[in-house]
């Protein structure tokens, strides 16, 4: 019975972690706040955006499906 309890707890925790991981990209803003001034290029030169623009689509903020690598 005790084992059963911990199994359920473990499953719930794993599920919560997966849901959190899936939710993270869509929680990020697809665009910087409107109050930020300048074009995207100006803001990139100001160091506002980092990351990879890649030959392999790693983590797009649009169209990402949970589980996509």
């Amino acid at each position: 019975m005790k084992n059963r309890f911990w199994q359920i707890i473990t499953i719930l925790m794993v599920a919560a972690l997966v849901l959190a991981a899936c939710a993270q990209p869509t929680a990020a803003p697809t665009q910087p706040p409107a109050s930020a001034g300048g074009s995207f290029l100006d803001r990139a030169f100001a160091g506002e955006f980092k990351g990879t623009v890649g030959g392999h689509n790693g983590r797009p903020l649009h169209r990402q499906r949970c589980g996509q690598v």
């Binding site: 995207f40 803001r43 990139a44 030169f45 990351g51 623009v53 797009p60 649009h62």
Partner: protein
């Protein structure tokens, strides 16, 4: 990013964006493939598109735009800035159909010019010939060379399975010089038939040169069997056996070794025919399209709208910038600089029409029927009807 640049071109591309990467901290990872056309379709249709894709043929991008796959860059780019930094034609050529209407499906990067006539400079000047600036002057020069005992034109359209393509370039050139851009655009979309007064007129202008006795080295019969890369070589015999060759800037790689641009050869702009249509330039080039929307991807797309994005490549040779904020001082050789000047001074530019047409036509019946017409196997009426009949329903 993905695109068709491989080997040296890939290195030059990566060098050209290094300054941007260093200053912004954005890492542009480029992946080139010689089987680009096939591989990119699998990735995009499979829902795994690269962030940005470089398309050397806008027709392929148009197929993805039509499926709603490409992101409309006009939603975040400053259109006033774009208008200041591109000839309007480039912006028009980036507009494509999508399920939600017309979108700006990409921005233009590296380009090539096709509206060039090459000549053996030293011999040309010694013979006292003058650069023509109008169609009539071009015909007068042709006549003058013929009277001097030589064939004015070097023409060859043999190219293996692609035999005929140089003629399609010629027809595209004369179309741009004899009818409106609207008609040209309708023609490449199949909305203006090949068997139309406009297209007939354009072909007749080509025939005015190609089919006049004594105007082409080897005669009309030799055109279809002369390899396009060999066609300009008689220009460099001593004395030249032919004097004029119309082709894009890539043709210099087929010239005999040891020649110097600006000394042994040079080029001039293929002249206008009807002044009403200005000084159009036929081009090829690369359009960058965006498939994933993140701030850093937007920043890179915006970067590609500036001359700075290709400056390194221009300086290294082999690239021409369509951006109006580019400088002619960047070009390391006279050929690239001259082509850039022609493109930047164009009243309009249009992409190679056969590359925009459906493959069955643009890389099929257009080549084939024009080759048969040139060789005399079929007449013009039959050729035009055959091409129209091949257009996908």
């Amino acid at each position: 990013m993905a695109g068709p640049f491989t080997d040296n071109d890939a290195v030059k591309f990566e060098q050209s964006v290094k300054d941007f990467e260093d200053k912004t901290g954005i890492d542009i990872q480029y992946e080139g493939s010689k089987e680009f056309e096939a591989s990119i379709s699998i990735r995009i249709d499979g829902g795994n598109p690269p962030d940005i894709v470089d398309f050397p043929q806008p027709g392929l991008l148009a197929t993805f735009a039509a499926k709603g796959k490409a992101i409309d860059v006009s939603t975040f780019l400053d259109m006033e800035k774009l208008k200041k930094n591109y000839n309007q034609s480039w912006l028009d050529m980036a507009m494509m159909d999508s399920p939600s209407g017309k979108i700006m499906a990409g921005v233009w990067g590296r380009v090539n010019g096709k509206s060039l006539v090459w000549y053996p400079k030293k011999a040309f000047e010694e013979a006292g010939y003058k650069i023509p600036t109008t169609w009539d002057e071009l015909l007068a020069l042709s006549e003058e060379i013929k009277k001097d005992g030589d064939a004015p034109w070097c023409v060859g359209i043999e190219s293996g399975a692609a035999t005929g393509w140089p003629m399609t370039d010629w027809i595209e050139e004369t179309m741009l010089r004899t009818t409106s851009l609207e008609n040209y655009d309708k023609w490449v979309k199949g909305e203006l038939k090949f068997d139309s007064p406009e297209v007939r007129n354009a072909i007749e202008k080509v025939a005015e040169i190609w089919f006049t006795d004594g105007y082409v080295y080897g005669g009309r019969q030799a055109i279809a069997t002369t390899f396009f890369g060999d066609a300009p070589k008689p220009m460099f015999d001593n004395p030249p056996k032919c004097w004029l060759h119309k082709q894009g800037n890539f043709i210099t790689t087929f010239f005999p070794e040891g020649l110097t641009a600006g000394v042994d050869y040079d080029f001039f702009y293929f002249p206008p025919i009807d002044p009403a249509y200005g000084k159009p330039v036929l081009v090829a080039g690369d359009i960058y399209a965006m498939f994933n929307d993140r701030p850093e991807v937007r920043a890179v797309m915006e970067y590609f709208t500036t001359g700075a994005s290709v400056e390194g490549w221009v300086r290294a040779g082999g690239a021409i910038s369509p951006h109006l904020d580019s400088s002619l001082d960047w070009y390391s050789n006279e050929v690239d600089r001259g082509v850039a000047e022609i493109i930047l001074n164009a009243t309009s530019v249009r992409f190679d029409g056969s590359d925009l047409m459906p493959g069955a036509v643009g890389a099929g019946s257009f080549w084939k029927s024009m080759t048969s017409y040139v060789s005399g196997a079929i007449d013009l009426d039959t050729a035009l009807r055959d091409i129209d009949a091949s257009w996908p329903k």
